[in-house]
Amino acid sequence: MPRGGSPQRELQHCCLPGAECQRTEQEGRARGFKITGDPRKLGFAQCHRTPGPLHPSALPPPVPNSQEFLSKFAAFQGTMNEPEFPSNFVKPVEKVENASVPDKLKFNFYIPSAAINQGSSVDLVLLPATTGDFGVMPGHVPTVAELRPGVVSVHNELDKDVTKYFVSGGFAFIHADSTTDVCAVEAVPLSDIDSDAVRAGLAEYTGKLASLQGKGDDYELAAAQAGVEVYSALNSALGL
């Protein structure tokens, strides 16, 4: 502990390490330092000054990082604890590549009477949209798609665990965080569909559409067209 001066008052060497500083008071003043004590009475520091702008040569060399400081500090450490650094109190930011794209899709599949999938983690979902078929994987662009009668394929594991449903229509929403909601009016597993009924229905509605061409009101025509659309889609879904 340097003699002279209270611990509160900052003691700084003017230019050289204490024992070597032989400057006189006059010299110190000439160099621009304010001498605030009798240099001869001071022990460790030959001259000291109140805090102010330091001469560049009096500045300690800057320590590049805390590790270097600690290695130099170790020589003087004794029983003291290591000093804290601001970086000790800053949480490191974890840099993860493509942090925003999850590796599984969060999939919700709803019909009015049931939740077929709720929060399931899947690899891929194939959807039949009115604008064409498309597949959804994590990282898909946010989309709202109207669905046509067709097959929704849910790949719990890509090409390995696939469940297919026939949907009569509805909407699909793909959100920015890769949550996909499919809301259908009616959805059934392909195994629940009766092939004979599909063939019969297709024949019936094709016949109705043909007979209504040019006559019959708009509603009947539209209904017949819808029938042909649904039964053709069922036909191709079952591979008939």
């Binding site: 009668p149 059934v188 629940d192 009924a197 009947e220 017949a224 039964y231």
Partner: protein
């Protein structure tokens, strides 16, 4: 023909093409039953019961 009617119609057509155990369960979902009333001066004046138990499949209007 509105979108809702079209969506309902497509669903009904799908339900008509199902195999037996699934078909009866789905048909039960197709039924629409409700009672509506027109109120005047705090009193119901007209009661209308709408009961569609077969859905719209097979009918074009």
């Amino acid at each position: 023909m509105t979108y809702n009617k079209y969506a309902g119609l497509c669903a009904d057509m799908l339900r008509a093409a199902l195999k037996e155990p699934a078909k009866t369960k789905a048909k039960a979902r197709e039924a629409i039953y409700y009672r509506s009333a027109v109120w005047e001066n705090g009193q119901p004046t007209k009661q209308v019961i709408t009961d569609i138990t077969e859905g719209t499949s097979g009918k074009l209007s």
